[in-house]
Symmetry: C2
Subunit: 240 residues, 2 copies
Amino acid sequence: MSIEPLERKSLSDLVVEKIKQLILKGELKEGDRIPGERELCEQFAVSRASVREGLKILSLQGLLKRTNAGTVITTSFSSILEETLTLKILLDDTSYEDITEARLFLEKTMVSLAAERITDEDIELMEQHLASMIDADERENNNDFVIADIAFHQQIAKASRSSVLIILYNSIIMLIFKVQTRVGYDATVMKESIKYHRRILDALKRGDVPESEHEMQSHLLDVQERLDHMTGIDKLKAGE
Amino acid sequence: MSIEPLERKSLSDLVVEKIKQLILKGELKEGDRIPGERELCEQFAVSRASVREGLKILSLQGLLKRTNAGTVITTSFSSILEETLTLKILLDDTSYEDITEARLFLEKTMVSLAAERITDEDIELMEQHLASMIDADERENNNDFVIADIAFHQQIAKASRSSVLIILYNSIIMLIFKVQTRVGYDATVMKESIKYHRRILDALKRGDVPESEHEMQSHLLDVQERLDHMTGIDKLKAGE
DNA sequence: CAGATCGAGTGGTCAGACCATCAGTCCATC
DNA sequence: GATGGACTGATGGTCTGACCACTCGATCTG
């Protein structure tokens, strides 16, 4: 038998555990408002600092939503997961190629899933994003174009209905777009992207799995080829 | 233009950003000891409470390791992602399927890449892990079996030479095995796994992409089918 | 030189205070 | 009756200064 448990848990961690248990037991449900910090101090018999650190953690994990008017239970994911993964990638001396490679496979998988699971609502939203891209292209507004571009891809991710893949995707997509916008879209890239997005969306409407996957791959490889991508990743680490 | 949120960042969040930047810029490296809380208070011109909340977040993300003798930079993976996903599973049974779905995709992608990029060294290590599995099976040592099992899969991940996919994979794989082992491997599962691992490794040796991918998919679906995962989730809820 | 001792520094916790903001409530105005 | 402003109490965010337990390294002791 190996030695040692060791490790003393801090009071704030105990607060975290306690509240988590209450949520898991169902005594606290989504939308419920939990007592104020000062009252929790009395109930747990700890100081406000400890309670606050505990609540901070829980809200970071997406279990609580804190406002100046109280703290309520929520079960939506928070962005800390994506942030953590993004940090790991940045700290891991990852090359830009590694990121785009992972992105390619994620997008292919998600678009395949989306082709089977997409709803009319998803399609409607994607049409809007595509329209925004066309509009931004005509106005030659590079920034708006990228925003709509991201929204389009993220809608595909949502349509895949795979919450874990969405998290993994979000953790790398911002890196990609930051680098790409740093390099700069030109008119050709935008017009080509619009064409591919049109084809991808049409394939999704038909529920055509292989075609949607194929168009996605062509699209991503096309963009990568047009952008001289080597620049950027280092600057990304420094700047942000 | 739509009217939107407007949010004010808390001081602790600003502390988090500041330190993250220092780490990303390379001014703080792994193993470095950062100044004490009191000194950071002066440098950031905020109170100790704010600094503490910020450091709490960073240590949660696995960037800092805090002890009574100081705070040091670390890059070891934190468990926050695993913990949060676990909570999500407990609150929503369907998300376990989301994770296994993501895992299936990742393993298929990585084994395909591995089939093209695997080295003799990788193969040698995988042979050792497979031998350990066989040995553990004969000794009916469930624990050793799982350890070798994980090592086998992680070696495939390494052989894919895709650092981003490896990070994403590591972020969820421990959770999967935790649930699976809670259910408990029986002799049948172990023997079947060994057979599949043998076939996967042989396919990798031949550099056979489609076959390795196919065997991996069969293997994972087989294991999932044999383990009634609902039981595992229930146990997960009861314990820990 | 080896071991015990001690003190400075560290993170963890506490209590009390002030502030800006928010959710009601009430009320004067239109 | 509806609108908008002013008041009030509660909440989260922040600050201050203090005490504790622990760790580590320098010092003292044999």
